[in-house]
Amino acid sequence: MESVGSIILYFVIAVAIVVFSVLTVTTRKILRSATYLLFTLFATAALYFSLDYEFLGAVQIAVYAGGIVVLFVFSILLTSKPGDKSEKLASKKRVLGLFAALAMLVVSGYALVSRCCMFAGKPAMEALTMHKVGETLMGTGEGEYLLPFEAISVLLLACIIGGVVVARKR
């Protein structure tokens, strides 16, 4: 049995995620779309916090909300002309998209709901200290992630170079 506060918190987060996700893809202005994405990401970060993954929540805010969304905003400003504020959706396409999304929802939702009784409540977890996160990230043993960490760093480097090469003026 959870505390009333945490239940309320959950519902706030869940509603925020659902509403902002829907708004992200239905709004017709691209800049608004990016803003709603930002809110969705914040809500996700809140979800991580509520699940006791503080570090992950912080990364979510710093990288996603702080980095990627800013990137989106800049690119929107770079690529949109002053005139085109909105875009009309072709109804055929809309039907197709709705059909795909609803089919996805039905199949996965059915799979989830038909197994809902299998899930238990949130188990207790000892507090995840920063110390442990750091050791796991930098360790070389089993279940530790130094090698992927290094691989990611190389990937990011390649990505920076690639971005520069692709986007530079010829």
């Binding site: 969705t40 989830l112 992630y145």
Partner: protein, 103 residues
């Protein structure tokens, strides 16, 4: 009432479906990219939630999400570079105009 795993998977599923809808219907490539981010985010939530509820003593799901975020950032940066390049060539970023890559 208990907030079980289900309660977290449902919003994540809705978020994913929104991503699918956006990806298929939007014309602006940046909007498509945003939809892609939504889907990625939904998957991230699943990883974290499964980790938290099923294997609370371990960190695999969380770290997977961590790396997924990093890769998403890289992918977005590259995709935006490509989009800007396309914009420079085609003067717009409507995905319907980019159908040259076929037989």
């Amino acid at each position: 009432m208990d907030i079980t795993l289900m309660y977290y998977l449902i919003p994540s599923l809705i978020m994913f479906c929104c991503g699918v809808y956006g990806f298929i219907t939007r014309k602006n490539m940046i909007a498509i990219l945003i939809s892609l981010e939504l889907m990625l985010n939904a998957v991230d939530i699943n990883f974290v939630v499964f980790n938290r509820f099923l294997f609370p003593g371990q960190l695999e799901g969380m770290f997977f999400t961590l790396f997924a975020i990093a890769i998403a950032a890289a992918e977005t940066a590259l995709a935006i570079a490509i989009i800007i390049n396309i914009f420079r060539v085609a003067k717009n970023i409507d995905v319907r105009d980019l159908t040259k890559m076929k037989f």
